[in-house]
Point group: C2
Chain length 276, copies 2
């Protein structure tokens, strides 16, 4: 009764469209996606850049990891959902070994929790942890911004224009998804320019963890506008080589984003406690 089509294409075909074979166990998993296929592909791509990193060759486990990561980021799997390896191995038509490795990869990125002898599940994200992540990000972006303002070439700084204008465009079109991904692009360029791969790796990992909440944060009233303004001013500060201002701007932007998140989440409090 398996209806699933073969999975895991190498590069650019619509993966992940197959429903889970077994009758859905607990609750929502992979509802029939509609228009946001582009966003999903983008999520998978970002996940690949972060999760796979050195594994340039798209291997079996990195493919699985990216696919599942994208599902988590896109909210197709909610926090706490089971990710048992048997079900996944059926779905991806592999043995459980690669599945386990993929889940371990995602655990290291904080998207999945694997309690010993228990079923892996989509990581819960408590507000407290979100706060910690944003603090860490702010501190490290401070470093990044300072380095960019001081050391990046003017040409390199210019490459920040493209994602920024895409953010502008998306803002005008009220296109939240596009805005989010352009924003991710912007920060990605930023971290690249600082020329510190260690810090970039850490920031990427932290980004991945909170990506699920991005839409939430940016859908707060005026949040898109504020983020856009901050980033535009950041770019200006870079161009003026004003490291202090750049660091302050990026830090402030993070703190505002955090505040916006607190407002959303504190009310719904849907997030269970995280520390198991």
């Amino acid at each position: 009764m398996l209806a699933a089509k073969p999975i895991l294409l190498g590069s650019a075909s619509p993966i992940g469209e197959l429903p889970i074979d077994t009758p859905v166990k607990r609750q929502t998993a992979a509802p029939p996606r509609t228009k946001d296929q582009r966003s999903f592909a983008r999520a998978r791509e970002v996940a690949r850049a972060i999760v796979a990193e050195r594994h340039d060759r798209p291997s079996l486990v990195s493919n699985i990891a990216c696919e599942v990561a994208a599902e988590i980021i896109e909210g197709q799997r909610s926090p706490g959902d089971d990710l048992n390896s048997v079900e996944l191995s059926r779905r991806f038509r592999t043995s459980r070994t690669p599945i386990r490795e993929a889940l371990m990869l995602l655990e290291k990125e904080g998207l999945v929790q694997i309690p010993p002898r228990r079923r892996p599940r989509v990581a819960l994200l408590a507000m407290e942890e979100v706060r910690e992540i944003y603090q860490a990000r702010a501190a490290l972006f401070d470093l990044i911004a300072t380095a960019v303002a001081r050391n990046a070439s003017t040409d390199d700084i210019g490459t920040l224009r493209a994602p920024l204008s895409e953010m502008e465009r998306a803002f005008r079109d009220h296109d939240l998804n596009t805005f989010v991904w352009a924003n991710v692009d912007f920060y990605d360029r930023n971290t690249q320019l600082a020329n510190n791969r260690t810090v970039k790796r850490i920031l990427d990992s932290l980004l991945l963890r909170t990506l699920r909440l991005r839409r939430l944060s940016l859908s707060q009233p005026d949040r898109m506008q504020a983020s856009l303004d901050d980033n535009a001013r950041l770019l200006k500060a870079y161009e003026n080589r004003d490291a202090t201002l750049a660091a302050a701007l990026i830090s402030s932007n993070h703190m505002n984003a955090l505040a916006a998140l607190e407002k959303c989440l504190h009310s719904q409090e849907a997030q269970l406690t995280s520390r198991t």
Copy 2:
């Protein structure tokens, strides 16, 4: 012809003393350790706290991971050494599956590199990467110090005294090993007091990476003295609730440690390039 004794005790017996069965392949691996068994045990303990983390139950893979981690940290395995899973599985009398998982754990901590389809090896550590790590650490410790100075209870701050006096004692005794581990203790307490587990995890991971070099850094003339002084002043700053000074001290201490390392390493340059 296997002479190896059973491995992997649960808690406190001298593990890792067994020689590798097969004739040592490339170069040095596990020379017969002499007096530094205590240091080795300490290394394993630290590795457990960081690598295992949630896996409170000492599982098979976490035991293996800690053992190998300690060997790397203690310099019994040099950067670039092979860590092939067959040899390790013989040594630990398990199948290759747990070995692979353990190595993946260590890869996530930056101690091991696993290029696809190639043998895992002890991670190389280029000077550039060390610089990046120390910069990241400095930025995050800035955060930590500020938080401790502002929010930690006076009692909690008092718990920093113990490791500090141990550092003093070790310094007087010219006991480098003890000094290093007391120093690790000191920073560990520090990160605990800041009450930000996310940042603590990141810092722990970064610490683990550079732990191999600690002895090198601190054996530079006057480096122990300088570190001791800095940390004593840091404690005072905490007691005076002087967040700015605390952050500056901890940051400066890191930068000085980095400078000391640069001096050692730049000369020997034994570290091959890291990015593969």
